[in-house]
Symmetry: C2
Subunit: 259 residues, 2 copies
């Protein structure tokens, strides 16, 4: 597994795009979808994607796959700066495994503006390496005693989390937020989950939802590649009953379940 990268000083300024991919014994999961999003992100930043990106990924993942006798999952990061492509394989962070298993306490907070008010140079539709503010938002949530944060528009629409998409179940329908309308990053794990909904007897759809409506959902999750689904066990300090769907959906997506 890669531990150090050789970079130029310019590469420390977050001026690039990335993807985080869940690696399974079968290989990197949803790799084609992640690479497609990487290309869309790179286009928004005017960064050309090297033609050999899939080869570089295969090369980085290969040594790790032979370790799968002992572990069942790993993290793959594909990072493309304006100067070079970096691919790194590492263990899944303990916090991600824990949050998948036990869920997360979430607080909500406004991003400070209404929908559609982002400036014209906004990179909100790209997965950009400049994550300082995303990390700051999570630190702020932790200082408030929560595990993670749900971003709201000023009108009160639930949008996304600093490192995850919002997914919820209401009236037998598994839903996520429409990325275009909400001006957020389209979630790869969330989209796959909605595609799998029918296989477990659920409808699926993309909907704008207010915080007030979200509180009435039967279950809420944050969806992201490494956590898979982290169930929201408390929202703004109000505990929520655990959902039997969490294990069923993680299973449908092929994430290892805790014994």
């Amino acid at each position: 597994m890669v531990s150090r990268l050789l970079v130029s000083p310019e590469e420390l300024f977050g001026d690039g795009v990335f993807e985080t991919v869940h690696v399974r014994p079968s290989g990197p999961w949803l790799l084609a979808e992640h690479l497609a999003r990487l290309r869309r992100s790179a286009e928004l930043l005017d960064i050309p994607v090297p033609a050999d990106v899939a080869d570089r990924v295969a090369e980085a993942v290969a040594p790790g796959l032979s370790d799968f006798s002992e572990i069942s999952e790993m993290a793959l990061r594909i990072m493309l700066t304006r100067e070079s492509l970096h691919v790194a394989v590492s263990p899944i962070p303990g916090a991600a495994l824990r949050e998948r298993r036990t869920g997360i306490r979430v607080i909500s907070a406004s991003i400070g503006h209404e929908l559609g008010r982002r400036p014209p140079w906004s990179l909100s539709g790209a997965k950009v390496l400049s994550y300082g503010s995303n990390f700051a938002a999570r630190r702020w949530a932790r200082h408030q005693g929560a595990d993670d944060l749900l971003w709201l528009s000023d009108e009160g629409y639930a949008l996304e989390a600093p490192t995850a998409s919002l997914v919820w179940l209401a009236d037998g329908e598994l839903c996520t937020v429409p990325a275009g309308e909400a001006d957020i990053l389209p979630g790869t794990t969330a989209r796959e989950l909605l595609s799998a909904a029918a296989s477990v007897g659920l409808e699926s759809g993309e909907r704008m939802i207010t915080l007030a409506e979200l509180r009435d959902a039967s279950a809420i999750w944050f969806a992201s590649s490494l956590r898979g689904l982290a169930e929201v066990t408390a929202l703004d300090g109000v505990a929520r009953p655990p959902s039997a769907w969490t294990r069923r959906l993680l299973n449908a997506l092929g994430y290892p379940l805790a014994p």
Copy 2:
């Protein structure tokens, strides 16, 4: 001069702070002020500053100082991620020298919200490595045919530029925007300029200013460490007469002037 750095993958996510310092034959200019701001930025991100930061800077700058028979200025970057401190010395980018010499055409655009509407985890008072959005704003300005961008609040107050502070001269007073009130980064070069105002017979002050008022200023500059002062030669497509103060103020600050 440092060309490559060894980093961990986590260090590519812009989760750190930095300073850019102008290096002269006498050494790094305003180093104490830049290190003080680095410490304030790091505190906002909960990152401890290594005790040997000044030694690391001296060590990085020393070999470059012996080159000063041929060149008269260099760039020093101090970059502190959550994992390590990186110090790099490099030539001043050609664009910075050109913009100091010939000025810049600037367009203005709103950041999409009113003053005081930043979320509680905002890092706007810290100089954060996550510069993806700053670079995107400048690329957007260039696509509009300008060289740089002036950020406005939604109410129309002029705030700062993606990589510079706003400075202007009106009624014999050299002014900049109050960082606290405007919720922007305090500018090190701009503050030094205001301190030097009296030495060239000007008053100085910090004021909020609307775009309409700014248009009536006798001269406008963007102030930053490497450019020093770049005079705004056109604002939103309207050409502005060159100011005799540009050379006088660059001289007062000790920046080399083009022959």
